[in-house]
Amino acid sequence: MRLRSLVFATAMLLSVESARGAAEIVLEAEMAKLPAQCRVPVAFVADPSLLRRSARRIERDQIFRIVVLGSASAQGIGASTPAKAWPVRLEEVLKERYPATTLRVIVKAKAYDTAQKMLSRLEEVIAERPHLVLWETGTAEAVRGLNIDDFITTLRDGIDRLAETRTDIVLIEPQYGRRSALLINYQPYLDAMHRAEAMRDLIVFPRFAIMRHWAQSDQIVVDNLPASMMTETADKVYDCLARLLAIQIMHGLRASN
């Protein structure tokens, strides 16, 4: 009896393993298609947390509504045209991958907004009836050195409110630049976001770690640029972020099927 259950458990484990293996092969294939400058270790975009609601709506109704709740970078500040902002690019990339799905990315962004202020706009976000909310936050707090406990409470309130409406959530970390990381203490705010990840079912998109990887491997350097390079670099950053975010979202969707 015991032997049989052992065999059964092993078989289950093996099948889970092989399913996981398949997901990882797809993921690696996606990563291989990226432009060289965008590449990061696969683990950065391989959070297996589920995007249940989004996956169900895509499968059942071929509809996928994403709302971006964010600040300056979601508005595409620094890019050559608004069309180069990362949410716009994300919509383009995802549309290519899900051609049969009615897909929209709606942006609710305001520069310099703290998580607290974004929370007050949350009902506006929920009114759009999103399946997935991309919440970009932490920058205003880190820049002004705001209280970390208030930030954690706000994050938790926002996440719980979205969970009530059964919306899938991706938190997006602040950007990384060597100069900004020297002047601004991001670590407590990053930790707070990862704590939220450990406590609730959601994905944290590690934009900070990704941009740091680019800086360390000289793929995309955003510091000490001549003025003529800045717009071009911002476009590049937003494009790569959108591609990686799309890969992470698709990974979550596949895991949920």
Partner: protein, 376 residues
């Protein structure tokens, strides 16, 4: 000697922990257990403050002891203002030269200088505590309180401890804290951290000042502390890697984070630190020979000049971080900056020790008399 060794070690950890993304900093206490160098610093400061000012009280009376404590506070206050000036200079210099629309929001960092009048005023009232500048304001408040409460500390330490525990508990339950600028609370909440400081003071009195032993401060058998410490270490590793483990219930991780709150000195931090301190005291006897060895001497000297080493350490960690930003990270570079910085701190501590020793010696030979400063 033992105190100075652990305090020196704590100061070196504080320096390392303040250089982010640096592999050497993964070796410090903060990544092993639920407490870090801040606890070492506050606890040992409690012990040594009770030692120094308790003895002065015994020999010279209350007024003189309190006056010496306030003089020490003044030194700390000046050090705090000095660190603020360095921080401000660094931020405004860097922010001025920083032009990149991609970081429009981040460039707002000089925002706290939009209204320099207010910012400077708030720094002087200890309410503005930019990056890594939370511990000196805490220490200042604690030392002023100590100066006032010295008689109680000497005569009724247990009453003081009960009051202190009650205040700490009130913080845990009601979340009291002092207001800070621009928006928020003190990073090290004095109303919570005072408890650890006073526990330290209680132990300091017990061993070295006569007739003021606490009946409340009792130690469990070392085995109990060691077992608890092992639990703390296991718990910390569990929470750190909880991301990868689906078996750990979310609510449990939530609870542990809640209990190991740094600002309010959560119960888990407090207990883990006390267990750690107990184990350290048992394992390192006061007269351990290696504390006198040549290899440990530099660490001990860092502990003996804690204020200077703390301030220079904060400055060096900012400078080391800047070096890494300009010249790139990497195992070798991080090691160089970390160990180089520790080396500089030890050299400076050695120099301070030498210069003070000479000063004392020349005074002994009839040099100009200098007022003795209480080393808190």
């Amino acid at each position: 000697m033992r105190l100075d060794f652990f305090r020196g070690l704590g100061l070196l950890f504080i320096f390392l922990d303040h250089i982010p993304d640096n592999w050497v900093s993964y070796l410090t206490l903060a990544n092993v257990v639920f407490c870090d160098a801040a606890e070492i610093f506050v606890f040992i400061s409690g012990i040594s403050a009770a030692l120094v000012f308790g003895r002065l009280f015994e020999r010279e009376g209350y007024v003189f002891a309190a006056a010496q404590a306030l003089r020490r506070t003044w030194t700390l206050y000046v050090a705090h203002v000095f660190l603020f000036v360095i921080f401000t200079a660094q931020v405004s210099y860097a922010a001025q030269r920083w032009r990149n629309p991609l970081f429009a929001e981040e460039m707002n960092i000089s925002g706290f200088l939009d209204d320099p009048g207010v910012a400077i005023l708030k720094a002087l009232t200890l309410q503005l505590q930019p990056m890594f500048m939370g511990i000196l304001p805490l220490y200042i408040v604690l030392l002023v309180a100590l100066a006032i409460l010295l008689p109680l500390l000497r005569r009724a330490i247990d009453v003081l401890l009960i009051g202190s525990a009650a205040l700490w508990l009130a913080v845990q339950v009601f979340g009291l804290n002092l207001a800070a600028y621009p928006d928020g609370k003190w990073f090290h909440n004095p109303m919570a951290w005072q408890f650890l400081f006073l526990i330290g003071a209680g132990f300091g009195l017990r061993h070295h000042v006569h007739g003021s032993s606490s009946r409340l401060l009792r130690l469990p058998p070392p085995v109990v502390s060691a077992a608890f410490l092992a639990l703390c270490i296991a718990g910390k590793q569990l929470v750190t890697f909880a991301d990868n483990l689906t078996v750990v219930p979310r609510g449990f991780v939530d609870l542990i984070w809640e209990m190991s709150h740094k600002t309010d000195l959560g119960p888990l931090r407090l207990l883990c630190f006390l267990a750690l301190a107990h184990v350290a005291v048992v394992m390192v006897p006061e007269d351990a020979g290696w504390l006198r060895s040549r290899w440990v001497g530099p660490v001990v000297r860092c502990g003996q000049h804690s204020l200077e080493i703390f301030c220079i350490g904060i400055f060096l960690s900012v400078a080391g971080h800047a070096l890494l930003v300009e010249y790139g990270y990497g195992v070798a570079m991080e090691a160089m900056v970390s160990f180089g910085g520790c080396g500089v701190l030890m050299l400076i501590a050695g120099f301070l020790g030498w210069s003070k020793g000479r000063e004392r010696a020349s005074r002994g030979r009839g040099g100009p008399p200098r007022p003795a400063g209480g080393e808190g």
